[in-house]
Amino acid sequence: MTALLRQFKDFFVSLRLTVVLLGLSIILVFWATLAQTDLGVYGVQQKFFHSLFIMVKIPGTEFPFPVFPGGYCIGGLLFINLIIAQISRLHLSWRKFGIWITHLGLIMLLVGELLSGLLQQDNDIVLDNGQTKNYAESQRQNELVITDVSDPKIDDVTSIPLDLVADLKTVQVPQIPFQIVAKQFFPNAEIASRAQAPNAPAAPATQGVGTQAVLMPLAVTVKDNERNEPAASIELVGSEGSLGTWLVSADPAMPVQKFDYKGKTWKIAMRATRRYLPFSLTLVKFSHDVYPGTDIPKNFSSLVRLHEDSNQSTREVLIYMNNPLRTHGLTFYQSGFANQDRTAILQVVRNPSWQLPYIACLLMTGGLLFQFSIHLVGFFSRRKPEVKLA
């Protein structure tokens, strides 16, 4: 082994590195906790944990500068430290067995957290009593959709990622006989009818409801219980020239906007990005119980009917606190309600690596118990002769 390689190994194998990394991770977690008041939990995850470095803009510029190692960096180094140390320093013996098992569990835990960071998807499904849906909606992402609704049986949907709209790009796709030109974009905005705010400037639109509306840009929110509702003004350009400019908004109250072009009827809208499910869900009934004489919630529950087209099966499931529905690799849990208890909000989580923490934790718990038991037995067997002497 060359001297350089040995130095390298010595660095990665050392307990000093472990201690430093543990210290750094404590600072990272603490800082991230404080930052949640400003960034919200999602923003913190992106900035602190799902990142190599925490980037802070140099004051007065837009240039980001790394100021502290992020979750991937510290986690990755711990991972390397753990594996190299385990191989080169800790010998396989019964006295070290607990440490081996604990570290193996820790490796799985780190991998599991990495995977769930990369693969986990959270969406909402918002259902009124009696309503049926076969899709969930993203809590943060939105999409611009152009739908061909000429055939009453089938909607032909084209979804355009919002990034393209935000960058004011022009989009041309083969399914649509016109170009989509993003003219203006607002990451969060409120739409009101012109009658409510007669003095406000007109919204940037020449077609559709936008002509009757005013648009008020809002600050982007990071609160976990609020949603950004982006808006944009979109010009559609056909081969003969412009068809006009439409105002679209992710506000659920925005009316449907349809128009005819070349013998077909089209719909243009901005909405929360949908993820379609392999089945449909109907909310049969949402219930919200409180303790008598108080408004302390005792239980929230949603009775849903689950219908699968593939095998024509229908079943009813009660989703309530601490009892989510797990099916098709998805977990549906009761996350909220609205509309005076007539609307249930279910959160839909897909996390393919959900078993890893369970196995990891069993291993680590077992390993720690084993190791500390050895310490304890050793302690008392060492003490016995002392007591006899005394």
Binding site: L15, T33, P292, G293, P297, N322, P324, Y333, V349, F372
Partner: protein, 615 residues
């Protein structure tokens, strides 16, 4: 003399406990204890009126008994009876505690009468409207951005509302003879209902009695909305045990049922007897009503009797005193008579711990829940768990270190619990997602044990540093045994905080489909695990020796107090249920004191008194 000290300690401990658990006798001729045991449904659970009185008084004035301006003392029950039935007297009792000068100036008490921080409801009457207005202005502002005045005015508005709700629990406002009115109403019901029915049909009727009954109905409607305390038991104790009603609701139902319920008349009768200060009548009515309740509510009555007894026994207060005593005696034992005084302090610790155990067990039985359900009970349990470990340490080492740590932690945690109890009844209902005895019994208990043991390691480190720096008593044997204790406890803490945190993750996965969400409380628990792991690795790697281990363990106190209370103060996340405003400064002070102790621990060893004498 020396030999008898442990025996004497045992006698004192047994006596103190025996006195505290002996049921109290009525101090006046009235059966106030019996009244206090009567069950009502309030804040979601059936509880004795005694608890209603005590938790209200704690919220209003921070103590459980009422001291009048002439120096006489009122028991919580006597105060509650006056609030219910003699509001004109109760309104003059100084029970509202105010500290904010701006708020005092709002009620014109500021400069004129500065010492008077306890005001009566009567003092507030001219300013009720302005207080309501100010509270409305402050309401929409986020809790953490409110000024001291805004917080105080919202607090006093809530206190006044609580008081008014209590006043309207049974009697209509302004009534002088409620029982008489009810008895007359009972007679009027058949004719009155008939008259109203005819009136609605447009037929000939007795307008006078119809008007009278309609007017009564309106008043009962107001009464039904004026309180949240339900004093009238469910008519169907088996099928619908939680369908209790307020007095007003029950009286409204009497139109349909054609008569007033016996429970309503019983309370009116008790009120009449109290107004007339008629002991015989009062003392006859209470057992009569209890007999009536025994049909269907025997179990509830048993629980309310035990709870009343528990309230008067004040096991946690007695424990707190015993811990203090144990602490002082254990400290003295390091200077003189280590054997006998050490044993005496052990006896006090053990008896205080047993009493706390009984108290926690009673709470568990009353609530039907595992020991930790809210911040208050977590304080009790952290103390309980840490002292249990101290007892084990003391049995093994017999050097009074365990007793000193037990005294410190027992006292500290019970003091914290006392302050947390000021926000009202500590036996709260569990919010929907927390309503899972399995996870409360596993995750919460284990993670709280993790807190307890991390604290214990920190307090042992404090003993090491204080004894080492300021006294000659830290000889090598003591120092080594302290180091072994801290190391062992840190191992224990690592295990429990890790398993507890992980079980929390599994609970989250079971209910929300995700294992880890970087929520503040989750992060706090994670930091404790990481810190304990860091201590162990630093020691294994030889990066710290004995003194470094102590300073690291001491820092564990800061980490744990952050996780326990600090995370709740951020006011965000899923676990922010225990937000405590006033605790912020106590926490800051605690953290500063720990930093100072770490600083003292870093004084060069040659300047430590113990090591100077014993190089």
């Amino acid at each position: 003399m020396k030999k008898f000290i442990p025996f004497l300690a045992l006698v004192i401990a047994v006596l103190v406990i025996a006195v505290s658990v002996t049921p109290v006798k009525n101090s006046t001729a009235f059966d106030l204890v019996g009244f206090g045991q009567l069950p009502v449904l309030s804040n979601g659970r059936i509880k004795p009126l005694d608890t209603v009185a005590r938790s209200s008084l704690l919220q209003l004035q921070g103590k459980q008994s009422v001291k009048l301006s002439d120096g006489t003392k009122l028991s919580p029950e006597a105060w509650l009876l006056d609030v219910f039935f003699r509001p004109e007297k109760a309104d003059t009792y100084p029970i509202f505690s105010i500290h904010n000068q701006e708020l005092l100036s709002l009620v014109h008490k500021g400069s004129a009468n500065e010492s008077s921080e306890f005001l009566s409801f009567k003092d507030f009457i001219p300013y009720l409207q302005s207080i309501e207005d100010q509270a409305k202005l402050a309401g929409p502002i986020e809790e953490k951005s409110r000024t001291a005045f805004q917080r105080s005015v919202i607090q006093i508005a809530e206190d006044l509302m609580l008081y008014e709700r209590l006043e309207h629990t049974i009697e209509k406002p302004g009534t002088t003879d409620f029982l008489g009115e009810l008895l007359q109403f009972q007679k009027d019901i058949p004719a009155g209902v008939q008259a109203v029915r005819l009136k609605q049909e447009g037929k000939a009727h007795d307008e006078v009695i119809a008007q009278k009954v309609i007017e009564e109905g309106k008043q009962f409607m107001d009464l039904s909305q004026a309180t949240t305390i339900m004093v009238i038991p469910s008519a169907d104790p088996v099928g619908h045990p939680s369908q209790w009603r307020t007095m007003g609701q029950s009286l409204l139902e009497s139109f349909e049922q054609g008569g007033i319920e016996p429970s309503a008349l019983a309370f009116a009768g008790i009120g009449y007897a109290w107004q007339k200060q008629n002991t015989d009548q009062f003392n006859q009515l209470i057992p009569l009503y209890r007999d009536e309740l025994n049909n269907g509510y025997a179990k509830a009555l048993k629980k309310t009797s035990v709870e009343t007894h528990f309230n008067t026994a004040e096991p946690f207060y007695i424990s707190l005193c015993l811990y203090t005593l144990a602490f002082i005696i254990a400290i003295i034992s390091w200077l003189k008579w280590p054997d006998s005084l050490g044993r005496a302090s052990f006896i006090f610790v053990l008896s205080a711990w047993l009493l706390s155990t009984a108290g926690i067990a009673t709470r568990m039985w009353l609530e039907g829940r595992p020991p930790v359900t809210n911040l208050y009970s977590s304080a009790l349990f952290v103390g309980w768990g840490a002292v249990a470990l101290c007892l084990i340490l003391e049995v093994v080492y017999k050097n009074a270190i365990g007793s000193v740590a037990a005294g410190l932690i027992g006292f500290g945690t019970l003091l914290i619990a006392h302050h947390l109890a000021l926000s009202g009844d500590t036996l709260e209902m569990m919010r929907a997602v927390l309503d899972s005895n399995f996870w409360l019994a596993t995750h919460v208990v284990i993670v709280t044990t993790g807190y307890a043991s991390t604290f214990l390691a920190g307090f042992l480190a404090i003993i090491y540093i204080i004894r080492g720096v300021f006294t000659h008593t830290l000889d090598k044997a003591t120092a080594d045994s302290l180091a072994r204790m801290v190391y062992g406890i840190v191992c224990f803490a690592t295990l429990f905080s890790f398993v507890g945190t992980v079980l929390g993750g599994i609970w989250a996965d079971q209910s929300w489909g995700r294992f880890w969400g970087w929520d503040p409380k989750e992060n706090g628990a994670l930091i404790i695990v990481l810190w304990n792991a860091l201590i162990l690795h630093a020691r294994w790697g030889g990066l710290v020796k004995q003194r470094g281990l102590m300073c690291f363990a001491l820092f564990g106190n800061i980490v744990t107090s952050w996780s326990w209370f600090g995370t709740n103060m951020l006011g965000i996340g899923l676990h922010s249920y225990g937000f405590t405003e006033a605790a912020f400064w106590s926490l800051a002070l605690f953290v500063l004191s720990q930093i100072a102790l770490i600083g003292i621990g870093n004084i060069p060893l040659k300047n430590w008194r113990s090591f100077k004498a014993n190089p």
